[in-house]
Amino acid sequence: METIVKYIWMIPAAPLLAAGAGALLPGGRRRLGAGLAVGAISVSFLLSCAAFAATLGGGRAASHFRWFDFGATSVQLGWVLDPLGAVMAVMVTLASLLIFIYSLGYMAGDGNFTRFFCFMSLFAAAMLGLVLANSLLLFFISWELVGLASYLLIGFWFQKPAAAAAARKAFITTRIGDLGFLVGMLALYSKTGTLLFYDSGHGCLDENFVGGLVVSTAIGLLIFCGAIGKSGQFPLHVWLPDAMEGPTPVSALIHAATMVAAGVFLVARVYPLMTPHALQVVTWVGALTAVFAAAIAVAQNDIKRILAYSTISQLGYMMMGLGAGGVAVGMFHLTTHAFFKALLFLGAGSVIHGCRGEQDIRKMGGLRKRMPLTFAAYAAGMMALCGVPLFFSGFWSKDAILDAAHHWRFSQAPFYLGLLGAFLTAFYMTRQVCAVFFGKPAPGDAERAHESPPVMTAPLLILAVLAVGAGFFGTPAWPWFQKYLEGGKAGFDLSKLLDGSALTVMLLSSALVAVGIVWSGWVYGRAARETDPLEKAQPALFACLRQKFFVDEFYAATVIRLTGAFAMFCDWLDRVVLDGAVRALCWLAVGLARLNRNVDESVVNGGFDAGTETVRGSGEWMSRFQNGQTQRYLRVIGLAFCGLLVLLLWGASWF
């Protein structure tokens, strides 16, 4: 593993090179651009598998290099190879590969085909850099690059004002979280003197709760701020639904599977720093987010927005898992969620593609018959998300979280919130599936929908297999995933399934899921399309949910207004005060210059002129002596001679 870790930089380097080469390609070379991207990510996938294989025995290897010096210290960056990073790298590269292949079909009609793949490769490179980084600084650099790629991809169709605004909103909102992250990073550096995670005992994560409980809690919470922004937890979730303005593959890759999971990965990575107090905060935030987002999803009508809120909700579950159950619990759900959420998004993309761009579920229907493959894959994903028992990965991972919450020693409230969230998840997903795939097709595009080409359906099917199969790596009977991450052997023991509390949790969640699916199916399966039954029953509540609890409006009225006022004040300051100062200086300088010129002209030039005038005048005056009369000259000579003679002969006796 020591040797492999030296070459691990190639995993992010391959897509980065593809992005660089793709940026230099002219827009017409579509095959070359796409080929570069797909090829690079395949290489990364193979390398990640190799790295994964190397970590199967457990353990950790790190390598680092010096970036630059300042003063006596130097800034180090490095790569780490351990189970957490390896499994994440495999998941990221696999999901990226499948989504790239899908994009070959989905983006075929777009004019900016090569630019799309260039940006996607850039994103993949940054994400992989983030996953494999051993230095918090390198992590942060990759974090920001991922944010940049997200901005570029959300605003891919930047001619649409909504897309440009959404990209800006995403970037700025995540920035707010990143501020906390940066402060936490600086505090960590000042406390430990190093930003390397693992450095043969000297790294900042080599010991738990470094710096003491209070400091560690503070640093942990500050770093968690970054995760709140990036993973769309409660106060900073507002950008994720708007990010659906980007193309569907972007939503699938970035805003479902990988980038939003980066926040969860961050908390998992700096887990040794997180004190129980910090983890309490994480758990509460996660639980609240899970229920909050699930409630909003019930009242949305855009197929992608439902999935976006679902993502926010599931991210809340992941945070809850990390806080209550530990790294393995959270990461397991992250891995399964990546596959089935990507599957759901790609399926939604297939539906949109088939309905020629229609995204409102009220205008779809009956697509089950017209797009069978998409329906099958989507159903698998939906059941995984809801947590339909036994055969779907979401069940096992979500139950692990609920089990951990049930055993949490601080409070049972997150457990109940988790159960409520599971019920709501089943409810809104069934609502969506009924509206899109069942019933009579709405007049218009839905009637003429067609199945997507194989280049798009093949990844769907692969992901469906993963959505079912990945769960079996983490069941209580065979907790391979958990043991892989934490170290130790995983024994196969079916009796663990029937273990007391685990069984109750499984039965409880299954019951709730069943109730949710049946109730939603009964309400929505036979309803007319135009009005929502729930809206008819509870119009006020529905409106509140539709408007996302008015969070955006609240922000607009407070934070944005304040910022706007401050910006105007700064503008005034700049234009009046600073500019005025500069102008005053200029005026002073110009005045001095004028004074200088005047002095130069009047005093220097004038003086000189006066001098020359004097000389000329005196010369003129003296030249009047010469009147041309030679006899006068001779007279003068004679007189002078006399004077000289007298002076010479008798002058000596006078003086």
Partner: protein, 104 residues
Amino acid sequence: MTTPLAHYLILAALLFGVGLAGALARRNAILVLVGLELMFNAANLNFIAFWRFGPRPEALTGLMFVLFSIAIGAAEAAIGLALVIAIYRHRRTAQVDRFDSLKG
């Protein structure tokens, strides 16, 4: 030689004075040149006198000087008079107070 040197010198001085006074007082250019010649001659007389009464008359220094002086005086008189003639041809006048174009 019983006349003392002083007498010769006084004669030379008087001759010089007459020449100078005439050069300053007469209007005709030719007479100015005549006065000039008289002054020249006064100086020559001085030289001869001092040669004669001087310490080493056998060196003939004064005499040689006077010979050359006479030659030069002749040349100068020739040129000066030629100039007067030339000016007379142009200006139709030989009066010095009319030759005043070189003035400031």
